[in-house]
Amino acid sequence: MSRTNTHKPLHPTQEMDPVAPAIEVRGLHKSFGDKKVLTGIDFHVDHGQVVCVIGPSGSGKSTLLRCVNRLEEPTSGQVLIEGIDITDPETELDRVRSRIGMVFQGFNLFSHLDVMENLVLAQRKVLGRSKEDARKVAQANLDRVGLGERGQAMPSQLSGGQQQRVAIARALSMEPDMMLFDEPTSALDPELVGDVLGVMRELAAEGMTMMVVTHEMGFAREVGDKLVFMADGVIVEEGDPATVLADPQHKRTKDFLSRVL
């Protein structure tokens, strides 16, 4: 809540490493009770990279994404954000999270606040920005997603596509180093998907580091720098999106792609 919050180190001893990948996952396991959801994930996202994660439902791709900002607690393994191990209890998790934007399948706009207040809240409470500064940043991000006029609207008055664009603007207002997208278009009517993908395309073009769990193969092919295919809690195949989509090496990838393409 204090303004000095921003200057607190992310970790008492570990330093941010500028050459480390933006996101690095090492030997990640995650179980819910007896159910093993992730069984040994190793992968990384470099700065400025757009990595798309695809796979059948239940493959663990959303769980992996949620482990990256520890919304899900990894059972074992490490998650490093810009070289800082966020599974270490000493890490200032809230500070790290404030630098990782997250967009959910269900939008999750604060339903008791209007659009502007949705964008302003965390800027004020987490970054300690003044009301004027926060509103300025919020307005710029609303303009960016094409909803500059809707600041006074309540989330319920917006279409799903508009809500998702507000959610993206809310995450961007924190000026994050990277963005996580958890099936951002899966809950949308088909005609609204394009607007949201358009905003994400622009973000990618501006060089934002992005990890996107998605079913949009077209987006993955055109925008992604890397495609990761997951099944049954492991990464089966990864590589250049066009190559993986056109010439999958593994049977599971082939089966999956033949069903969705």
């Binding site: 809230d94 999270r97 999750n108 604060f110 339903s111 809240l121 965390a122 987490v126 319920s156 924190m174």
Partner: protein
Amino acid sequence: MTRTQRRRAIHWSLYALFILLVIAAIALADWPAIADNFFLLDGIAETWPTMLLIGAKNTILYTIISFTGGFVFALVLVLMKLAPVAPFRWLATAYIELFRGLPALIVILFMAFGVPIAFGWRAPGGPVGAGLLALMMVAAAYLAETLRAGIEAVPPGQIEAARSLGMSPAQTMVQVTLPQALRIVLPPLTNELVILIKDTSLLFVIGIAASEKELTIFARDMMSSGPTAGTATSLTMAAVFYLAITLPLTRIVSRMERKRGGSR
């Protein structure tokens, strides 16, 4: 007869029956006796201002004090009940179960008479203070359960969104969870406020000074003295005052709810 006609005939005969019953009730009632016992007009004209300024005022005052106090206490109980530390949870659960299980009257008597004898401690504000403290304690138990239900009804995605933006658990609770929980439980909360308004009448069991009387005690004492003595007129007046407090309240809240529903 077609089906529609038959339904219409049944419909109208039910109306006719209802009107007949009302007419019969009016015709058979002993109106002078009712007026003498429940609506002594001279007495009403003479006593309603003091009843308003003392009785109704105190009822409202006691309700506000015990609801506010109970609400704050309930928040503490809820946070304890949701705390990661098990003994806090046990303590809150034990408290809630205990005070929801006891009649408010028993708690009032305990606080007003039991506690001073047993511990030599008297609540500030004399017997009324002790009674209000008891009402707070009982209200807190009910309000805590209501608030917990509200907090648990807030969609988890709302909390995840707040946490993913870097808000701490405390900030998330204050800025996101509680405001939404309160909206969700507004109707049951009103219900508890109305119950509390009526429960202030239980303070009659403790002896209190004339200026501290609330509506029920005021009316009961007027049955034995003053211009309406020997009749139930004062009870009718108290009843009207209670309704004058509770009916607008429930109307205001249901309007607030409709407004909120519109903006959803």
